[in-house]
């Protein structure tokens, strides 16, 4: 098999591969940067929680309007926002901390989602939907994913300063500025948007993978935020390409292949990177703090 056949022919011959690539490109530059901030704010697991929280909304949209992009998107976003703001409200107004209130709401949301899925007799279709379809991106889905990425980049640029401050010293931001809640909820809005976007491409279960894994890998290599963002996005894109090619040549499902490739980068970084396992054991180096 020539290099051409191995790397380029799949994309040159098949439109669905090019579409998958375009979708992954958008995700790498939208969802992954959001993942970096999630990671830095120690909210990595929140992404996972949120991805389950959008499930009932998307499922309801699907049940009501069939496989309609609009209905599932709006349903997912609404469900995500309800959980985020309800959890935020409970956090501010009760003794529960954010993780506890979020866990409570996402578990309820997940249970509702599972119930809705099983209400429908033919739930097989819905399962397909929940597993996503990076190989079946149509014009509308691509447009949606690209729009969300554009919105995300714009939003991150706008919120960059307060976000960075919140990442490193949330109490300082709260003390000096009233923008703290704006930054907080604005950011959560972006998280929900990107989860919905990732859910169209990779499915609810895989969408978080392309957010968090490249971010974690990037954090192992560098402490500089711009470098981290760049590394995360580029490694997400490279993993996507590798995953798609792997799916193409080895006959494995595409979504999991992409996320597993992200995982491969993560493990390689974990071993080799300055912030990883080996570096800390070297006597000549100062211990790196996270």
């Amino acid at each position: 098999m020539s290099l051409n056949e191995l790397l380029f022919a799949p994309f040159a011959d098949f439109g669905f591969m090019r579409r998958a690539l375009a979708g992954c490109l958008a995700l790498s530059f939208g969802a992954t940067p959001v993942g970096v901030f999630l990671l830095l704010r120690r909210m990595s697991l929140m992404g996972d929680a949120m991805s389950h929280a959008i499930l009932p909304g998307a499922a309801l949209g699907y049940l009501a309007f069939g496989l309609s992009l609009g209905a599932m998107t709006i349903g997912g976003i609404l469900a995500g926002l309800v959980v985020v703001f309800a959890a935020g409200l409970v956090t501010r107004a009760s003794v529960l901390k954010e993780d506890a209130s979020l866990a409570a709401f996402y578990l309820l949301s997940l249970a509702a989602g599972v119930m809705i899925v099983s209400l429908r007799g033919r739930n097989l279709d819905l399962l397909h939907v929940l597993f996503g379809s990076v190989l079946a991106l149509d014009d509308q889905s691509l447009l949606l994913i690209a729009s969300i990425t554009s919105l995300t980049l714009f939003g991150l640029a706008l919120l960059f300063r307060p976000l960075v401050l919140e990442c490193f010293d949330p109490s300082f931001l709260r003390a000096v500025s009233r923008l703290s809640p704006v930054a907080h909820y604005g950011f959560l809005l972006l998280v929900v948007f990107n989860l919905v976007s990732g859910f169209h491409a990779l499915g609810t279960l895989m969408a978080v993978g392309i957010m968090i894994l490249p971010s974690a890998a990037a954090r192992l290599w560098t402490r500089s935020l711009p470098a981290m963002l760049l590394f995360a996005s580029l490694s997400a894109l490279a993993s996507s390409i590798a995953g798609l090619l792997f799916s193409f040549h080895a006959d494995v499902p595409a979504g999991p292949a992409i996320v597993l490739m992200c995982g491969l980068v993560y493990f390689a970084s974990l071993i080799a990177a300055p912030g990883g396992l080996l570096a800390g054991r070297l006597p000549s180096r100062k211990h790196l703090e996270s």
Partner: protein, 312 residues
């Protein structure tokens, strides 16, 4: 207490049944699956009461008999099965249910086809039990259905000689309809150029149809019942559709409509609708009888094959 009342109910039911039979009411016929049941109903008319063990929209291949089925088949006066390994369990069930007359095999006397005769590289694992190597879906050729009707009529006359004239008249009328249907299918598909009569389908049940009406059925490569399709599988399918210049594709195991759309857009093959192969639909569906089923399949095929030619 419950079991006692159930026994009483059963006793009453048995009593009612036996008195019913004594009054020469409809004779009880049990057929293995819905298509056969419909044929028996057509030939038997009012003189028979037909029950099918595998109902509309149910899969005969995976049938698991329940005790009530055994009871029902035991009380039948005539048991009709397809044969060819399609419903072997029927014969065993009839024996164990206490049915003593020979089971009528509707497909007796047809020219059988080998499995996969209608398509190439047939890699389906379509296990029908003992009928190894023979395609049992003979009813997909209306010519064979005529033979089924004759066999059923002969069996009914044998079981209920008093109704012989009625059965003969019904069979004659029904056969006339079937011949018209056969001609209709031949005419419609014959009007298409040879190279347009090429279809990819995941059903392994159209060998007889392909043979009788000169339509080429290919089984799809690359897609299986996996939870998620792979890039390789989708690419293989698109390649196959392009290479063979297939006009239409009927696949059930690609259940994501967005994926079907993409495949169709890239290969130029039209995504067809639903073809009925092994079971009728319920009365609310498009194929509640055998004739309606064949007509529905024909229209679905024609709609797909005559719409936009492959854009290549």
């Amino acid at each position: 207490m419950l079991s006692l009342s159930r026994i009483t109910a059963t006793l009453f039911a048995t009593f009612a049944l036996s008195t019913g039979a004594a009054h020469a009411a409809p004779i009880e016929v049990t057929a293995s699956f819905s298509i056969l049941g419909d044929m028996v109903r057509e030939v038997g008319g009012d003189r028979v009461n037909v029950q099918t063990l595998v109902g509309p929209d149910e899969d005969t291949h995976g049938f698991q008999p329940r005790p009530s089925d055994s009871r029902r088949i035991g009380s039948a006066q005539l048991v009709v099965a397809n044969g060819l390994g399609f419903d072997d369990w029927m014969i065993r069930l009839a024996r164990s249910g206490g049915y003593t007359r020979p089971v009528v095999i509707a497909s007796t006397g047809i020219d059988t086809l080998a499995k996969g005769a209608g398509d190439h590289d047939h890699d389906h694992d379509h296990d029908h039990g003992t009928g190894e190597g023979i395609d049992p879906h003979a009813w997909q050729d209306v010519g064979n259905a005529l033979r089924y009707v004759n066999n059923i009529a002969a069996a009914l006359i044998d079981a209920d000689p008093a109704g012989a004239d009625e059965y003969r008249a019904n069979a004659e009328r029904y056969s006339g309809q079937l011949k018209a249907l056969d001609a209709e299918i031949h005419k419609a598909l014959g009007s298409l150029p040879r190279e347009r009569r090429k279809v990819v389908t995941s059903h392994a049940a159209f060998g007889y149809f392909a043979h009788a009406y000169n339509v080429e059925f290919l089984s799809p490569v690359g897609v299986s019942n996996n939870a998620e399709p792979t890039a390789k599988g989708v690419a293989q399918l698109i390649r196959q559709l392009r290479k063979e210049k297939v006009a239409a594709i009927f696949v059930e195991n690609i259940s994501d409509p967005r994926l079907s759309e993409r495949i169709s857009a890239e290969s130029g093959a039209v995504m067809g609708g639903m073809l009925y192969s092994d079971a009728l639909s319920t009365t609310a569906g498009p194929a509640p009888t055998y004739i309606a089923m064949m007509r529905h399949n024909l229209h679905t095929l024609m709609a797909a094959l005559t719409s936009a030619p492959p854009a290549r």
